[in-house]
């Protein structure tokens, strides 16, 4: 059995309380190539931060800061 290295929440490590939707460069890291939100099991985020992140991404999408869908691989 291969044992994967356990990922830790990046926001907890940085000590962030709030994830800002204006910071689109940071949000893009948690999107797939298509622009979908990366699940918790791959990003390693904790529950609270993943929920905040989802809200931030949805707000940024609405304001056209990040795309709803993108086919161009980054």
């Amino acid at each position: 059995m291969l044992q994967r290295k356990k990922r830790t929440c990046r926001f907890c490590e940085a000590g962030d309380l709030f994830i800002d939707f204006r910071d689109e460069k940071r949000l893009v890291r948690f999107l797939s190539e298509q622009g979908k939100i990366v699940p918790r099991r791959t990003s390693g985020n904790c529950n609270q931060h993943q929920r905040q992140l989802a809200q931030a991404i949805k707000r940024a999408r609405h304001l056209a800061l990040i795309p709803y869908v993108s086919d161009i691989p980054r």
Partner: protein, 151 residues
């Protein structure tokens, strides 16, 4: 209950670049007329939209932060204005969370600390400049003084 709101809207400036100012002043006036107090105004400026909205590729982003009583229902009146105004491409109004305020304070503290470090690193250079300047000024100063006396 007194609340802190934040409203962001995108103005279409493809036809008239001054449109952003007229729309922002209108929104500002609306907030103040209905009893809100504007705390902060932030013009992000012209930005490229990541996807076209109403066939427009660029928009002017404006952010206004204001406090108001929740009974005044300012977000609803703003919503009505945004919907009628066809120059507004997108809008969003939300209640600012406590966590966001704490995070902002934290970030401000980080920036201050970074500035202090950079200033400390720069200070010897500034001192050396100051040392040079008086030396060059010294011979000129007495002449100036003499001139002023003569005059």
């Amino acid at each position: 209950m007194e609340r802190l709101y934040n409203t962001i809207f995108i103005v279409d400036i493809s036809q008239n670049p001054d449109e952003s100012e007229t729309v922002t002043s209108r929104i500002q006036q609306l907030i103040e007329d209905y009893g809100g107090i504007i705390k902060k105004m932030n013009r992000w400026g012209k930005r490229r939209l990541t996807y076209p909205i109403m066939k427009k590729s660029h928009g002017f982003y404006v952010e206004i932060e204001f406090t108001a009583n929740s009974r005044l229902n300012i977000p609803t009146t703003l919503e009505g204005e945004y919907r009628i105004n066809d120059r507004v491409l997108r809008h969003m109004t939300y209640i600012v969370d406590k966590k966001e305020l704490i995070q902002r304070e934290k970030n401000a503290g980080k920036i201050k600390r970074a500035e202090a470090i950079t200033n400390a690193a720069r200070s010897p250079v500034v001192e050396s400049r100051e040392n040079i300047q008086p030396a060059s000024e010294l011979p000129i100063d007495p002449e100036k003084d003499n001139q002023s006396v003569k005059e």
